[in-house]
Every structure is written in structure tokens, then in C-alpha cells.
């Protein structure tokens, strides 16, 4: 299961598992986002390299236009994946308060 939507304050919220089967859906949604993008990962259970590719492609596109992606509510497991991938040096990341 994977869901992605814009919530009330303009934040993009994701829910579930962002794997290779869901990457096309995530990319299609994020391709429509313009300007600064705050991505709430509080309900993201899992991400694989396919999901990382979606984030990287979108971040590069938005950075080229002077904005980018900010990742918030990042849990420990997801943060480990970002750290191993070097994404912690590429993205502004706010950890989960849990």
C-alpha cells in the first residue's frame, strides 16, 4: 500500500511502502509539484532505491528552479537509508520526534 497526497497546509504526505512497484505513482505525483516541497514521511514505513530515485529526481528538478525538497518526520530506519545513500548531505532533513 502506498498513498501520496497534498494535505491542508500544502505539505505532501506519504503513507506506506515506497518500493519499485510504487515508484511510478510517486514520480507522477511529484512531477506536478512546483516550488518548495515539504515532504512529510511520518507514515512512510519503507523506502527502497526506486523510491530514493524518485526523491533525487524531483529534488534535482526543483533545485534547478531555485527550491527543493525538505523531508520532515523522518524515522530512524528511513534516516539510516538516507545516511547510507548520502542523501543526508543532499536534503534538508528533520527527524521524527519519536
Amino acid at each position: 500500500m502506498f498513498e501520496i497526497e497534498i494535505v491542508n497546509d500544502g505539505t505532501v504526505a506519504v503513507d506506506g511502502r515506497l518500493d519499485a512497484a510504487q515508484a511510478v505513482k510517486a514520480q507522477a505525483f511529484l512531477d506536478r509539484v512546483e516550488g518548495q516541497c515539504v515532504l512529510d514521511l511520518a507514515k512512510l514505513e519503507y523506502v527502497s532505491s526506486a523510491g530514493l530515485g524518485v526523491l533525487l529526481k524531483t529534488h534535482k528538478r526543483l533545485m534547478g528552479a531555485g527550491s527543493g525538497i525538505k523531508l520532515i518526520n523522518v524515522n530512524n530506519h528511513i534516516h539510516d537509508i538516507f545516511r547510507y545513500s548520502g542523501f543526508d548531505k543532499l536534503f534538508e532533513i528533520v527527524a521524527s520526534s519519536d
Binding site: 518500493d19 512497484a21 526506486a50 533525487l56 529526481k57 534535482k60 545513500s85
Partner: protein, 133 residues
Amino acid sequence: MQKKFKRSFDELRNIVAMTESVFREEELPPGLRNVVDLATEELFVNMVTYNTESKEDILIRMSPHEHGLEVSLTDYDVERFDPTSAGTVDVDAPLHERTPGGLGLYLVMKMVDSIHYEYRNRQSKITFIVNRK
């Protein structure tokens, strides 16, 4: 437990269901799940994406190991490709130089505790172990 899966990303949900079942039956620590899920997905996706000449299903076997869980993926009627010899990724490169390619296998090598590749009779088998921490 072992099962065969079709060469489709849609099978990922069924692979996750198999992993859930193994963890429940073997009472494995939930903390190992994400590493097992990630390594299994990355290796399966690699086989589906690059071994396009084969029409055979991919066999996944999960069995308890002395220190955790052993997982093997076997791909039939394929050319040799050793994921453990895949090139490294410069994770310190700046954003404009970064591309997603190769990141999956790089993460597998970083996160599992051991990994082994065998190729025999056009069968490609990769086995990894994730230990209880």
C-alpha cells in the same frame, strides 16, 4: 519457506507477505525486517530488470540461520551477473553529479551481514544473511 515469483514488480507485495509470514513463524526480531525487505527487493528487481532473456519464475528461499535469517534468490536460464562485483557509488558526490543508478546493490552490500554469489548451469543464485543485532 520457499516460493516462486513471476518476473514483475507487482510481485513485491507477495514477497513482502512471504517475509511477514517467515518473521511471524520464526519469531524473528522486527528490527531485521527492513534490511531483509530492502535486500530482497533490490536483488529481485535487479534480476527482473536486467535478466530479460529469461521467462522463468524467480525462486526465493528464506530459512532461519544460526544468527538470524538466510535469504537466497535463484534466477534460471540467465547469463552470469554477480551483484557483489557491481561498481561502487560515490555517496559523497554533489547533487548535480548524483544519479539513482547502482544505489540499490550498493545499499544491499552495506546493510547485509554477508552475501555470496553462485553461477552454475545457467542458474544465478545470490544468498545473503542478516544477523540478529
